[in-house]
């Protein structure tokens, strides 16, 4: 059985992979990115939650035969992943860490871009402003 952090990470990866292109497109074309970024974060964390629903049900005491049924593949292939990759706590934690850093970096890049547009200032001066 795969660890719940692995399922959570798979959900995060899926959401990020779906919406990252639109965020990057907005960044390169100079559009406002907060809406796209917010949508990407919301979808990523929602999918991460969806991916661990069978684990949460199991934790709540629902029989394992139900939680491991083929229908649970609806939750981002949860039982299939359980069979393919047992364990995966460390990989899951590392994936979550990488995705958190990626999300945070995207937001910080957006803030730097907005500040530069607003004040038309060089990047070295950004750190002294609010």
């Amino acid at each position: 059985m795969a660890h719940s952090t692995m399922h959570f990470a798979i959900g995060l990866v899926s959401g990020t992979a779906i919406l990252l292109p639109s965020v990057l497109r907005g960044m390169t074309t100079g559009k406002k990115t907060s809406k796209d970024t917010g949508r990407m974060l919301a979808v990523s964390y929602a999918l991460a939650f969806v991916a661990i629903i069978p684990n949460l049900l199991r934790h709540a005491g629902i029989p394992d035969s139900f939680c491991s049924g083929w229908w649970m593949n609806l939750f981002l292939f949860n039982p299939m992943l359980d069979k393919l990759k047992p364990g995966g706590l460390l990989i899951g934690e590392l994936m979550i860490l990488v995705l958190f850093v990626t999300h945070y970096s995207i937001i910080i890049t957006g803030i730097i871009k907005v500040s530069r547009l607003k004040h038309n200032q060089p990047i070295s001066e950004l750190f002294s402003k609010n």
């Binding site: 958190f100 547009l117 402003k129």
Partner: protein, 114 residues
Amino acid sequence: MNHLLIAASIPFLIAAVVYFMHRCRASLILLLVTPAFMAIAMLWAIVPDLPRLFGMMDLYNQLLRDPRCNIFFWHFTIDNIETDSVWHSVLFVLMWGLLLSTAWRELMLREKEL
């Protein structure tokens, strides 16, 4: 998880105080420094556990019984009283989520001000 949670919560709470003092606005430097200090604090908190990672079990066992390890965010005390709970993970995720949402809110507000 207790070590990481307690260590990360110290810079996080300090940053939260600064954030509220600035009427819920975060400077770029605050947004960069907070996660960096959280990461450093978490690393500091697990220093006595690192020998185990590198297979140095003698040193690990020695540090495990040494009360001076309390300089690593009360590592020795926590090891003696800690209990395992799913709420530690929940609180940890909540903390990172708050950090991420604060940064995103700052981006949104700055875009509105353009």
